[in-house]
């Protein structure tokens, strides 16, 4: 069974006037990195946000099913809070809270009931997994906003890891970062996939090719193609995929 599977997924915006995602059927495997690519506005971010029900914050209407470990997360009986603990998200612009690094990471676990006496090790583990520990170990009390973009983004990753998810969603996590920070995060993702399932939206095709195991190409709200990254980039089935990859449009 795939870790994530969408069946007939449709998302409507603005009271139904915009059909953001059309009949998407897709399977995402566990412990792999799946990249979502496509031109701007093609629905890849909408798809990503459908996986942790964040579209609902913008008043979107979703039909169809999204199965995670076989359970439909859109079933009214399902708890969206638990879902979001299981499926973490990192945003395009790093958005650490205006608190210390320590408090940023501890935030999620504290709210979910984690006792304070074990918090130190939780924070340390998360920062180590996000490859940030060495840089900030002696500055945990400093306000997160004082760090560089790349560090902030890794902090956001650590924060997401602290609540013990199984899946991590990343929405163009490097688009606001410099090449060196980008490279570090890409390295990090390779490490993380051993424990987590990773879905990453990127508008940077080279990044998709470098980083992912599977790639899905979205176009105008539809999933045109999905498969092993090597195949998609070398022998795409759909001409539109090929055009996008070779840069005929972006």
């Amino acid at each position: 069974m795939s870790k994530i599977e969408t069946v007939d997924l449709n998302v409507y915006y603005r009271n139904g006037s915009v059909h953001g995602l059309k009949n998407v059927h897709m399977k995402i495997d566990a412990n792999k990195i799946t990249a979502l690519i496509g031109p701007s506005g093609c629905g890849k971010t909408t798809f990503l946000r459908a996986l942790n029900r964040m579209n609902e914050l913008k008043g979107a209407r979703t039909t169809g099913k999204v199965l995670i470990d076989g359970r439909n997360i859109y079933d009214p009986k399902e708890d969206v809070i638990q879902l979001r603990k299981k499926v973490g998200m990192v945003f395009q612009q790093p958005n650490p809270f205006p608190m210390s690094i320590y408090d940023n990471i501890a935030y999620g676990p504290r709210i979910h009931g984690q006792k304070n006496r074990h918090m130190d090790s939780v924070v340390e583990e998360s920062l180590k997994k996000a490859a940030l520990w060495d840089e900030v170990a002696d500055r945990l009390d400093e306000n997160a906003l004082g760090f560089s973009g790349g560090q902030q983004q890794r902090l956001c990753i650590a924060r997401a890891l602290a609540v013990n998810p199984e899946i991590i969603l990343l929405d163009e996590p490097c688009s606001a970062l410099d090449p060196i920070s980008t490279a570090r995060i890409e390295e990090l993702l390779q490490e993380l996939k051993r424990e987590y399932t990773i879905v990453i939206v990127t508008h940077n095709m080279q990044q998709a090719a470098r980083v992912s195991d599977y790639t899905a190409f979205f176009y105008m709200g539809e999933l045109l193609e999905c498969g092993k990254t090597s195949r998609i980039f070398e022998r795409p089935d759909d001409k539109r995929t090929e055009d996008y990859i070779t840069g005929r449009y972006g």
Binding site: N52, M54, L57, I81, Q82, L83, R84, K85, K86, G88, M89, F91, Q93, N95, P96, F97, P98, M99, S100, I101, Y102, D103, Y107, G108, I111, H112, L140, D141, E142, N143, G146, C156, R159, A160, V163
Partner: protein, 283 residues
Amino acid sequence: MRIETEEKLVTAGLSATALISVIVLFIVVLYILLNGIGAINPEFLLEAPYRFEYGGIFPQIIGSLCLIGVCMLFAIPLGLASAIYLAEYAPDNRITSSVRFFVECLAGVPSIVIGLFGLAFLVYYLGIGVSMLSGGLALGFMILPWTVRASEEAIKTVPQAYREASLALGVTKWKTIRHVVLKSAYPGIITGVLLGMGKAIGETAVVLLTAGSGLESFLPRSLRDPVASLPVYVYMLATQGHTPDALSRAFGASLVLIAIFLAISVVALLLRNRYVKKMGRGR
């Protein structure tokens, strides 16, 4: 006349006019200071009035502080709760716009009318009588719109990104508000509270009608008893004082009033700065 000269003259005229405000402020503050400072001494500050025009103003000071205390106990929770609802939960419908409209209405009610309302509703209808409770609540009605407005603005300034980050971690809406949004909005909320306190402490008409006639010379007894207050005492001294001393005491009391207001401002400013610094520290 050449245009340049005309321009220069008019500009000079404008700047002179602008300075009038500064001059007026200067004159007023100086005058109060000079006339009031003579009355300030430890007995004045720490004793009770004696035969109305002698003695000190200690009960009035404590009374005023108690009144703002009651006022804030009412207006801060209610105002903050309303602001949270308006900023975070309220859908875009008629009820929400009515709420906003009525908040603005309340802000526009003249203070004497609030005093009359306090008299009719709190003092007589509810039977609380002329008391600290009536006065404090009436003051609370008066400043509620300011706490709502300032809190709502402060909450709205918190970036949406923080809310999204918190929700994506599986934190519920209310917990997000409590732990992220409110913490960030705190300085702005404090400003609003401060504004309210400043208005409340100098308010005479409302207090005169609902909390005490100004003849009280005792420390605040209970919520249901009349209470002395600074502004009302100043009013009484100014209009009914007979001794030459009375006016100087009125100025003294005015000074104390202004001093309390300044003290509130400073305390809140310090609180704000300390809080902003704390946000950078952990555990």
